[in-house]
Structure formats: structure tokens, C-alpha cells
Symmetry: D2
């Protein structure tokens, strides 16, 4: 069985393991107060052109999402998100468990439009019973989205403008951000994110690390006590340096080159190319993509059920849904995907 169902099926990029091994015997303070975390945070700030930003490291994305939302919102405030947003459908109500309501909006292909946000906020404020509704106070989007689509710089700038006009925070879940950054048509850079968002993270878990997400709060005054929130939700890793070290391995340290020269980016770029090959193979068979504009390292197709049965004997895919005689699937590549595995999958598809 070769696995294409997700991008967290293997361990870590060798450079990550190497650095962990090389520094293993060193003694450092705990809880992220070590020099490796400090240098990694500096490196993140430099890549984001956000020299004042607060940077916090998390073990995982759900932990990051729930902590950010709980730390930045007041109890009666809710989060506007795509109905397909990860926080709305795949985190077991983790945001609600912190007391905040997800406020889902319809989202073609997983993306929210600035107009939707503006309309939702306007409707809330115009309502005679607005105090009886959760107050929209944040917009959560994912880049890439859960449907594999990307926000353009212009689209995110529009969302950001609506948020700032209305006093909402903009939070970008970047669990797969490397793949977005490294995709050819992408025009949304780390400095753009830092300029447009109030919070976003560079995902590590799905982009070459054993685990880890690097949260950026461009305004350091937004939540000076953020580390209390991190600890309170069980998100402060005792051996915090493991997070700093991994991001150093992926992003390079002080003085390293631009993002395009980092393993974080180059590994993702390679995975995107492999995903393009897979997409071409399915397109050649006439399989319709499930979403429009899907790109980067996740691809979604609707297959005849018989084809799915055949392929799934050798290749693990995520089933997104089933129709009459059809199965909708997701296939992912990652930094760890082997070319021969893609060759085999494409050949199997061609032979259907």
C-alpha cells in the first residue's frame, strides 16, 4: 500500500532529524525559552519582514487554532469561516470547547469572499437583536484552503480591508502554507501575510517537520500574555527547543537566504510538481476535479466507484464522499512523496 491520503504519513525531513540528533545532548531551558527558539523566531520574523512580530511555536494545528481564537476573542465573539473550514468541521468542536461559536458561511471551493464577510458583519450590526447573536469578530481562512485552493494576494487584501474597516481580526491557518508559497501561480508572500493578517502560522507538521506550527502575530501588542494562553491549553511543550530546532532545519537560521532557498520551500515545490503529475493523470482519464482552482499538494477528483475500488487496493486515498456510482477522493503529496510512487499511481490510473 502506498499512501497518498494525507501529507503527514511519514516522519520528518532528514535535515530535521539530523539537527535534533546533533543537539540532543545539549542542555537548554524548557518551555520555549531557549536560544534555538529565539533564533528560529528571529528567522521567521526576518522571512516575514515583520521585525516586531511575536512568534510562538505550537505542536499542532488544532492546538494553534483553539488557542489563538480563545486568546484573541472575548467570550461572546465568534469566528466567521468557510462552512468547509477546518475549525468548523474537523476539530471536534475544539473552538466551541473554548466557548466561541464558529459562524460558517457558504464557500464555493473553500474560499470566503470579502463581500460575504462585509455582508455578515453588516447584517449583524443592523439586527435589532444583535446582542442576541454571537458577534462576528474574527475571520478564519486557510491557505491553502481545505479544498486545495489558494487565495490570491488581491483576495486576501480585500478580506483584510473589510476586517480592518470593521474591527475584525484576520487569522490565516497555514498548516500547509509551504505548498501555497511554493506554488507557481501563488502571489501571496510571507511579508504579505504579515502585512494583511493579525495572526497566521507557518505549518510544520505537514511541511517536513515531525510536528510544529510557527504562529506569527505581526502586532506584538495584540496579546502580550499569549504564553499564558499557550500553557493553559496544554500547548507549551516542555522541551520547547524541539520546535525551534525543527523550524531552523526547515527555514535556516540567521543570515540564511530567501524563502525560495529553504528546504521548507523547495520540498514543497517538488511536492507540488508531483501533485501536478497526478492531476494530469486523472484529468487524462476524464475524472472531474471536485473543486475549481485546486492546486498545490492536495487534489480532489470524482472517480467511477469501480476505478476507486481498483486503485484503492494499492493506493490509500481519502474518501471525501460517495455519490451514485462515484467516489470523491483526495490525494496528497508531500516532501516525503517518492517519485516512483507517483509513477506507479499514474500508471495505474492510465490503466483503468
Amino acid at each position: 500500500m502506498t499512501r497518498f491520503e494525507c501529507d503527514y504519513g511519514e516522519g520528518a525531513a532528514p535535515a530535521v532529524l539530523d539537527l535534533l540528533a546533533r543537539t540532543n545532548a545539549e542542555q537548554t531551558p524548557g518551555y520555549g525559552e531557549d536560544a534555538y527558539c529565539a533564533v528560529a523566531a528571529d528567522r521567521v520574523r526576518a522571512l516575514c519582514a515583520a521585525p516586531q512580530a511575536a512568534v510562538h511555536f505550537f505542536v499542532g494545528a488544532t492546538q494553534a487554532n483553539l488557542t489563538v481564537i480563545d486568546a484573541l476573542l472575548r467570550p461572546w465573539q465568534g469566528v466567521l469561516c468557510a462552512e468547509t473550514g477546518h475549525i468548523n468541521v474537523h476539530e471536534t468542536g475544539a473552538v466551541e470547547a473554548t466557548g466561541h461559536k464558529c459562524l460558517p458561511l457558504p464557500a464555493a471551493d473553500g474560499k470566503l469572499a470579502a463581500e460575504q464577510v462585509a455582508a455578515a458583519v453588516a447584517a449583524h450590526r443592523a439586527s435589532a437583536s444583535h446582542e442576541h447573536e454571537a458577534m462576528p469578530a474574527m475571520v478564519y481562512v486557510s491557505q491553502p484552503t481545505e479544498c486545495g485552493t489558494l487565495y490570491t494576494k488581491s483576495e486576501l487584501a480585500d478580506l483584510s480591508a473589510v476586517c480592518r474597516q470593521n474591527g475584525l481580526l484576520l487569522f490565516v491557518d497555514g498548516a500547509r502554507l509551504a505548498y501555497a508559497l511554493a506554488y507557481g501561480q501563488n502571489d501571496l508572500s510571507l511579508p504579505d501575510l504579515a502585512a494583511l493578517c493579525d495572526a497566521f502560522y507557518l505549518g510544520g507538521t505537514k511541511c517536513g517537520a515531525l510536528f510544529g506550527e510557527a504562529l506569527v502575530l505581526p502586532d506584538p501588542d495584540l496579546c502580550p500574555d499569549f504564553r499564558y494562553a499557550l500553557k493553559q491549553h496544554g500547548g507549551m511543550l516542555a522541551k520547547g527547543r524541539l520546535l525551534g530546532l525543527q523550524f531552523l532545519a526547515l527555514l535556516g537560521g540567521a543570515g540564511a537566504g530567501p524563502i525560495e532557498q529553504t528546504p521548507y520551500y523547495t520540498m514543497a515545490a517538488r511536492a507540488n510538481v508531483l501533485a501536478d503529475r497526478i492531476a494530469a493523470a486523472f484529468a487524462a482519464k476524464g475524472c472531474a476535479p471536485l473543486y475549481s482552482g485546486c492546486c498545490a499538494n492536495q487534489r480532489f477528483f470524482t472517480l467511477p466507484a469501480a476505478w476507486y475500488e481498483t486503485l484503492s487496493r494499492d493506493f490509500a486515498m481519502t474518501v471525501m464522499g460517495r455519490g451514485p456510482g462515484t467516489v470523491a477522493v483526495r490525494l496528497c503529496t508531500s516532501w516525503a512523496t517518492r517519485e516512483d510512487a507517483v509513477d506507479a499511481l499514474c500508471a495505474a490510473a492510465a490503466a483503468l
Copy 2:
């Protein structure tokens, strides 16, 4: 200005105030541990033909909703409800503030169908990532619904059957239950509710009391520690007898007759008749009802905007929404609605 925008615009039925005044100087234990609450609870049990039921009194409906849901569910469990359900749209995220996710389903005219619940539960259980989703564990419906429609006995029995087959709890918000019970076509009785539901309440606030909701848990073993939950959420009234007394005034005490002979019922029946007159007046003008099957004491119409402007000079209505040239409104009657007020409204409508 005459108010038809809600059913809680006045104080209480005179019998309620009288009983409060008559017993005012008596000394009783606090927190609902007095004899009046005990007798009122017995009376509720008798009317529900549920001699073992636990009965708890609340000041208000949001408090009842959030406490019931928090007391009966485990943290990761969510509540299936109509997308128009009160808990989903008009309680400022009160359920989420207790950590539980509302799981809204599309609902024509405010009603959930048993098939929808069955499908949602089946989809959750079939999902490979079900542990990543809030677990559907309760169904919340309102009788009457927020759209003024009623569940038939057969419809609620179907919902109940699906819930019991799947281990979900069924919770009926009866904030306006008097109006449902007293409506001509209604075939769903208090004993039916006690037989079919795991929790429901007889609303007092909108049905003749100053305030108060009488929660019935037909199975007394469902939550033996419920009073801890009541206190923890600030819902345990110090002078708890005020709740028992009001329900005694509305429902009668030990040995009183059937529900049809109580002020609770007769006042609601009268309000329903007044609502029928209002509905007829608007129908005569060709105003389309907003929902199909709307009845009891709430009525919803779409009016030409100019008509709304004219009427609203003298009559308060709730604006549900605005379309191009139209305004959708709700009009309510209650135990307190005066006949001459209805005459005036109908005349004004006729004159449009």
C-alpha cells in the same frame, strides 16, 4: 403604539400577581426547596402523566437551554437543531459558551424531520474521521418552532424513535408551549411529550408568568445532580418559590382539572383565536405568509414596504428581514393582548 412584536411585553396574568401578593409575607426555605415548588412540580408531573419525572424551574429559556445541554451532554457532544433554532441564532452563542457545538440542519418552516436526523447521525458514524467531528448526541426542537409551526404527534414520535434507536437525547424547547397545546389542530399533548422526549419545558415567561420555565426530565435518573448544574450556571433563584407559585397560578394545584381548564391553556387558546383574526386580515389583503403551516400565536407575513411603514406608525411588529420593496414581519398575540387592539390592527390592515 400598540405592541404586537412579541409575547412578553406585559407583566403577568392577574392570577399570578395575586398569588404572589397573597403569599408575600410567608417564610419559606430558599432555592426551590419550598412547598410551593414541590406542589407545582407534582402538578406538572400529574399533567404530564409522568409521576417519576424530575421537574426543575428556571427563570428564563436561554438559561434552561444552556443548562440542560451542558448537564446532559459530554464535552465533545453537539446538538442537532434547525438552522433557525433559537439556540443556534438568538442566544449569543450560549450553548457554545458551555463548550458544545450546535449542529444546524436546513429546516423548511423551522422543523426538523426524523430523516434528517437519521442521515446526520449515519453520516457521522460512517465518517472515517468521526473522532474529528463533534458527535451528534442530542436533538433540539422547539414547539411551536421559531417559525410558528407545530410538530404533529406523529412527527415528534418519528424524531423520538430515531433518537432512541441511535442513543441521542430529544430536547423540546417549549417556551411557547401553551400556545401549541391550545391550538385547535394540535395533537401533541403533555403526556406525549413526556413519553417521547428526554427533556422539555413548559414555558411560563411567554405564557402568562412574570418569568419562569418548568423543565421536565421524564427519567429522574437521567441527571440526579441536575440542581448542581442549575446553581453553577446562576439559574437557581434564591426565592425559588416565586417559580413554584407562578406555575401553580397558571396550572392549578393538586386536584385541579385537566390542562384544558387551566389559565395556562385558556389564555393561550384565546391568544390563538386573536392571532387567527390577524392572519385573516393580512390574508385578505393578499399578504403571503412567510412560512407554511404557521399557526398558534405567532404569524409571519411579507408586506409591501409602504404598508409596513404605514402600519408601524401605530403597531410594533418584529422585522424578520427586508426584500426589494417588501418587509417580512412577525406579529404575536399573548394572554395579554386586548381585543380592541386586534380590532384596531385588523381595521388598519383592511384600510391599507
Copy 3:
């Protein structure tokens, strides 16, 4: 049985019931947006010499406590309080249920000293692991305390100064505030409270109302969205005017005289005198007071168990604890206490 165990054993002061009855048929908007609430809030502001203050009405004190604390603190912030504080011991963990930790400090006779607060804050800030501790961010005290003692103006000013120097909020639970205000030796006025505190309330439930607490937030910008919090916690009464009306009955309306001329004050003053009589009767028998400085309408004594057995046949008291051969009790008076009941109790005590 004559009840002295609490101050919420009867209904309401007749003036309260009268006003409710007199206004019963009027139609008003719901949820506290009526004219009565507006006038009552103005009256509270005037009495507090706090013309800008936000005033919010609650049904009960636990609801007020949990809502204020949840609305004003961030998730990782805790509340310094006396170990005997109501929120710490008698609210079923209501504050913790909103996510906030009570941080109890030892309190002789129920009172916190400014030095204790200063020391606790200093210790937290000096701790190398302060991010691993709940952050002290509010001080909660009760006036009178749960032990029947009073803060002097000087003591509260000291607490306020420490809070302001350190950025903590000061919150005074005034569930029995009338009895404090009306006690002879008291020197802490409503304007003092408004000047020294960030939040406090004038209790109604235990001071002559059926129910109700009037919260004052002297700085209206402290929480502009407070009404969302009120609704989210189920604390927004549908017929909100009932709260405004009751405080008008207790405090008088626009243009009424100083607090000393209000029923709120005069009823409490009378209750305090009756409590003094009870205290004298027990003191004459040599019963030791449980706390030093106890005054106002609650009194605490340690009795021989045999005396307790005798008295408790006719008089309900709250048992605070039992020692070898002794019982510690609380006795309360209220606006409703009858003089002949006090006569009887004192005679019974004398006859022990």
C-alpha cells in the same frame, strides 16, 4: 417555625409588589430596553454620583458574579478572593465553569487586606514560572462580607490603590449592600464604591426585591459589549422591566432624595437594629461571636449544642459548623423580619 436562617425567606417589600401590579398591563420593549430600566439606571447613577456609569440589571448574584468575571477577564486570568468568598465556596464552581480560577487568600473574618493582594501579585510577578500560574487580575470582595463584617472606606481605598497600581480590577459583591450602607458605623458610601471599584452591585434579592441586582460599572468603556455577556450567560431577563421597576420601588425615581430616605436604606437600617437586639441577647448568654467585627444583618455565634437543639425547634438558623458539644450558627434579619419574631427569639435565648 420562625426563620432567621437567611434574608431571602419572604417575597418583596410591599412597595415593590405594588409597583409591579400597577404597571402590569403596560406594554414595554423587552430585555431591559424599556423606560423603567432607563430611569432606574439613571437613579443608580445619581445615587452613586457616577453619571457616566454603565448600569446592568441581573436576576441573581451568582449570575452577576460569573458574568462580570467572565466579561472582564481574559481566559488565563484569575480572581483573588477571600477563602470564604461566596464565589469560592458557595457557587458550585460557577466562576471556574466560565474558565477562571479563584485564587483564595486566607481571610480573618472574611476580609482581604491590601497587603495580601500586593503580596500575591508581587509573588506571581516575581515567579520564574509565572506563565504557569493563573494570573491575578481581579480582586473580589463582598460588602458586607460572608462573615458579616464590613470594609471601612480606608480599607477599600487601600485595596483599590493596590489594584490600580498593579492593573487589577476591583469587584465588590454587594448582595447585601443595603445593610452595609445603613449600618451606623459604616463610612463607605455608594459614591465611594463608584470611585474605588471597577464593578459593584446593589443587591436587591436580599434587600427587599423579589429578585434583582443592579450592577454598576463606573467606567462605561470598560466593557461596551457587556449586554452580549449578559445574554450569553442566560442573564438577560425577557421582561427586563421587572428589574427596573423593582429598583425604582426600592430607590425611588428621578428626583428622589438621598439614599438615606429610600426604602432600600430604611428597611435595612431597621433590620440592622433587630440584628443588634439578637446579638445582645446571645451575648448576654455568653455565646461567643464566630467572627470579630460582625455587624449589619448577619450575626454568627457558637452555642452549646443543647441550646441549639432547643432553639432550633422554633427558630430556623443556618448551621455553619459543629464542634465538640457546640454548634456555630448564623442568624439573619431582613426588611421582612417581624419585631414580635425577634422578641420571641430573644426571650427564648434568655430562657436557655
Copy 4:
């Protein structure tokens, strides 16, 4: 600077890193549903002689504590713990953030006695206002405690008996359990823990892993939906196998020998010996131990402040508090402590 201030200052035991590296390229399902986790869970069950137990892996101890408590208790239930208990003082109110109150009891040397628990439960149940108090429903203890002391088998059996007689759950925080198991005088085994507790964990983070805690629920029916709770609190690691692998490296796999032959045990035994040497060095200087019965890998002493100043130039220690002219410190050893570092510390102490 040589660090003795904690037992999580280095990376992982080499065997852990080796196994991670060796399996790095393998593809497995995510979220702990892989074969390594399954085998590691089997191994934990075998070592605990608890073949039916549910085993769940966490990244860290605070995450484990808050998830277990939230998953096993109802909202109004609280946790009895030592006032020095980690959940009470060092987790930023993480337990309260899930809504549950810590109910601290005085604890000499960090240990709770069965009698204290029995008395607390009895007092709650005898209270007339028990519904106004958080209900004690769980006992949380740490083995070793936060003061470095150990429960004997007899002591834990007594606690367990009180819990079972009263329907409370017993939860043992084993963040440093290896050091307890491997300490000479210890008589409390893994099978004992499984027989006496409702939940406990084998700490990994402080016992040789990069991170990880292995939670054991001896009764698999106690919380069948526990994985929902794990996900909801952000505790479900995407690459869950990292946890299974690490525990395999520490505990051995199927068919491995008794606990005494595992790296988990032997590394801890060695650390305990080094801690004994440190203790002897300080005792020889007349430094009083801070707690009585302290053993295993944490030692606490009160030093003259001048000695602390001298030592702390070269050796990092945790400051527990300061007295007039004295400093109380904690020193820890771990699987990673080097003998030459201990030699140097002992020599420095001798030279004071």
C-alpha cells in the same frame, strides 16, 4: 553552566532518536491509529497486567491532565488535590479552563491522606448547601509528588478504597513515574496502579522521551469516546506514531522483559542514584531538606543564600522560595545527567 533545575533539559534517550530515525520513511496512518501505537499500547497493558485497559498517548502532561479531568467529570464536579498539586499551581488554571474547580487540601510534603479525602467528601455530603459547592468527584495525586515524595502501596490503596467507597475517581499523574518505579524503597508497581486507579500515566517527557505520556484507563468502558476528548483539546498528534515509537523505545515491544529490564526503568534507577549522591553532598554540609521523605530524582534543600549565590554561578537550580538569608532550591537528575556533572556539583558543595 550545568543544569540541574529540571529533568527535561536535554533531548531524548539515544534509543528513542534511533528508532525515530530508523522508521522515518515508513508510511503509517495518522492520529495514533498506526501499528506502532497499537504495539506500544499492548506493551503498556502487559506491563500493567491490565489486558483490557484503554491506552492513549499524549504529547505532554498538562494536556493529559486537563483532558482526563474534562473527559471523566461532569461540569459541576471538582478535583480534590494537594494544595501543591501540579494542576493547582503550575498549569495556568488549565483545569479551570475546562470548567472544573480544583479543590485543594493541605498536604504535608505534597501527599494527600485517605482520611483527608474521606473528610472532605463527608463534609460536602453533610452540608445543607452541598448543591452550592463544587462536588468532589475525583482525587488527583502525583507519583512522585511535586515535593519529590512517594506514595506507598498501602497509602495509595487507602486512597483508592476511600474513592471507591464514595464513588470518586482516582487519577495519578505519573509525569515522573519512572523515577518512582525505579526507586529502591518503592513498593508501588504498575500493576498496583492499574488495580487501584481509574486513570494514570507513565510519563515520557521527563523520563527519556522527546515528549509523550502514556495514559492508562484500566476500565475500557470508563470513557469509550475518549479520543473525541483528545482531539477536541488539541491533543491528538497528527503523526501519532511518534508517541508509540518512543514508548516502544523506552519500554520495549511485545515479548520484552519485565519493567526492570527496560530503558525506562534502568535510566531512572541510574538517575536516582545520582540524586542520592547529590543529597548526600548537601546533607554533609548540613543543608536541611525542604520536605520529609523526598527521594527519587528530585531533591529540595534550604541553603544559606551565600552558598546559593556561589553554586548558581555554575549550576542551574530551581528556586522554590527565599527566606531571610536562605534560598530553597530543587535539584533534579534525569536519564541524561552526566556523572562528571554530579561529581563537579558535589565537589562544589563540599567546598562551600
